[in-house]
Amino acid sequence: MTAPTAPTTPPTLPTAPTDLLYSGTEEELRSAVRALLADRCDAKSVLARAETGRPHDPALWHTLAVEIGAAGLLVPEKLGGQGASHREAAVVLEELGRAVAPVPYLTGAVLAAEILLGCDTSEAAPLLRELASGHTVCAPAVPLTLAPGAPLPPAVRDSGGGALTGSVTSVADAVAADVLLVLADTGLYAVPAASAELTPQVPLDLTRPLATVTLRSATGTRLADPATARAAVAGALLSGAGLLASEQLGLAEWCLTETVGHVRTRHQFNRPVGSFQALKHRLARLWLDVASARAAARAAADALATGAPDAPLTVAVAQAYCSGVAVRAAEECVQLHGGIGMTWEHPAHLYLKRAKADSLALGTAGHHRGLVADFAELPAP
């Protein structure tokens, strides 16, 4: 009755050994971040900020980035960071997802940090130090939907002597950034956010603001040549996609826990609605999916941390799987809360909006399945 043994198939990529558990240090980091968020980032205040149109909480960011040192986790110690790895950053993202925290972590501490690390130039080093210290927020000026493995947009031109012109839509967290990392035809530039024109867009996800970034002969510091820049951005997108799975995991977990808590106490027909088998089975299935999402997200974080040769496949698997789980968890959360779930006061909608936006961020599940097809040599017709 158990799974059969496999007939021989050509192994597509070597399977790197993976550590799928959490280390003691990671659990300590988790406790610190969770305690901070419980204190300063409850759903009520997230919603209140979102309603003002300025969702970011600079004070919260300061504590997370500077005091806990989360901003520099991916940055080596010699460049002023913590010299930790993607495994630790993933744990931070799980907690941020659980709290739908409005902080520029994925964009700044992951994507921007990875781009700067990928440049590996003396021009990038000082900015990386500032980023790692938590005092300067960097955001990559690329659409949030840009996916690993997809062609990079040629949006910005150098109109001569480093004067940058062009515009990029759907740039996440641009409004919180001090410095924008701009991919232009002549290389990568660090442009002070003040010298760009930011037009806020109305985002589906109220906790991760989007803006159109327009540059009109703006100048910045050139950090890398075009080839290096493109490679750096491509590598950052891979890490970002892999770590986004952990944010999705944390979000899905919150939705599951919150929903289970609700159906245990909500009574209809003279019994807790959670005692109805139709709901028990839905929640049991969701639990299975969340448990699997954890394995997928951990595998991606570990593969990125160890530079495993199969990291691109593991990341694609994690994204192809976890985005769907997060969206379904949030949808079930709304549905199983009944009328309460449809209200503005209940935080379920914040999670649904984040989950749905996350499913478009850094490549859809469909895009990542396409990548799986390439890596696993399962070509389209």
Binding site: V260, A284, A296
Partner: protein, 399 residues
């Protein structure tokens, strides 16, 4: 960490001693397996003298790898799965010294195949409702068993059975049950093949008519059979997670192979489904691997209860896709001849067989509905369904 490392070294030394004393080339298979059992290298986490050394369970992999590398014969677990996965842990937990010494060695070596006489025509999911009677004979103290069991895998090859029977109909259903070890060659045991969806008869009906079981073959106390049975059932459900499968191992392998080798069969719609299932199979592999790592680190997680559910669904979806992918060939079946196989094996069979046999994955060993109830109640803490059978005597239940 160091303690485990030392033990791994010790185990390697023991394996070397075993191989030196019984070179696999010059030793008959059964003799080698007996010697391995006696050396404590059968299941290292079992106690000394019973095929083990009381070592951490995770070190079994060290022993298996060394022996495989040396070309030593194995004890085909597919043929004796019920014995290894269910009878053995239950006998270990509840057996007398005599029972452990009598049964575990031939069980592990594979000289005695076991089957499970639990389900009855009227008691499947609601197993505790079973009606097979065991009555104690005054004088001899033997038990006389009458009743019918059904869907009994391997009853036709089994030498022994784990059996649950009702010993007190006047008590509520969970309390009047006793657990026995039943000799399948005893007079009054009749095994009739029950042909199944695949055409073969892997399981059977078993009729028990005046079957005599000595009291020394009772496992656990009289009336305590339900607790003993729960040990069996728990072991049945977790026995999956410990296995290590390679990437693209299991049911996805044959479909992926067909996809690569037969471009003319590819369609866009099938491609999307194949990729979704490939991803899910990979995630299931990682989830199983995570469970294994948790067990090794001594932090067992509840994921174990989920693996059987996941594999049942995946096996069914993947094998369904495979039949469809094969187009015209999918219309054909390999062989409808009624056979009584010795083992269940998904490989070396065609897609139609896999499709049909996988339907059993969500029924055997507890249906998916029952397992979802277990996850919902024991893992998520959701309230149980209201029930009215708990305090009624078994004989007063409606049937």
């Amino acid at each position: 960490m160091t303690a485990a490392a030392t033990t791994a070294e010790e185990l390697r030394a023991r394996v070397r001693d075993l191989l030196a004393a019984h070179p696999p080339r010059d030793t008959a298979r059964t003799d080698f397996l007996r010697a391995r059992f006696d050396a404590g290298l059968a299941w290292v986490h079992y106690p000394e003298g019973l095929g083990g050394l009381g070592a951490p369970r995770t070190l079994q992999a060290v022993v298996d790898a060394e022996l495989e590398a040396a070309g030593a014969p194995g004890n085909d677990p597919r043929r004796i799965g019920i014995g290894l996965g269910m009878a053995a842990p239950t006998i270990l937990a509840y057996g007398t010294e005599e029972q452990k010494n009598r049964f575990l060695r031939p069980l592990w070596v594979g000289e005695e195949v076991w089957c499970q006489l639990f389900s009855e025509p009227g008691a499947g999911s609601d197993l505790a409702a079973l009606g097979t009677r065991a009555v104690r004979e005054t004088g001899s103290g033997d038990w006389i068993v009458d009743g019918q069991k059904v869907w009994t895998s391997s009853a036709h090859t089994a030498r022994w059975a784990i059996l649950i029977a009702r010993t007190d109909p006047g008590l509520p259903k969970h309390r009047g049950i006793t657990y026995f070890l039943c000799d399948m060659h005893a007079p009054g045991v009749e095994v009739r093949p029950l042909r199944q969806i695949t055409g073969e008869a892997e399981f059977n009906e078993v009729f028990l008519t005046g079957v005599r079981i000595p009291d020394s073959h009772r496992l656990g106390a009289v009336g305590e059979g339900w607790a003993v049975a729960r040990t069996t059932l728990m072991n049945e459900r977790v026995s999956i997670g410990g296995m290590r499968i390679p990437r693209e191992g299991g049911m996805i392998a044959p479909v992926a192979a067909v996809w690569r080798e037969r471009p003319e069969l590819r369609t866009h719609a099938l491609h999307q489904r194949l990729l979704e299932l490939w991803v899910e199979a990979e995630v299931a592999r990682l989830t199983g691997e995570r469970l294994r790592q948790q067990l090794a680190a001594g932090q067992p997680g509840p994921e174990g209860s989920g693996m059987k559910l996941t594999f049942a669904r995946l096996n069914q979806e993947i094998s369904g896709l495979e039949v469809e992918l094969l187009a015209e060939e999918g219309l054909l079946y390999e062989d409808w001849t009624m056979r009584r196989p010795e083992l269940v094996d998904f490989t070396g069979r065609d897609a139609g067989y896999r499709y049909l046999r996988a339907k059993g994955n969500s029924i055997e060993g507890g249906t998916s509905e029952i397992l979802l109830n277990i996850v919902a109640e024991r893992v998520l803490g959701l309230p149980p369904e209201p029930r009215d059978d708990k305090d009624l005597a078994w004989k007063d239940l409606s049937r």
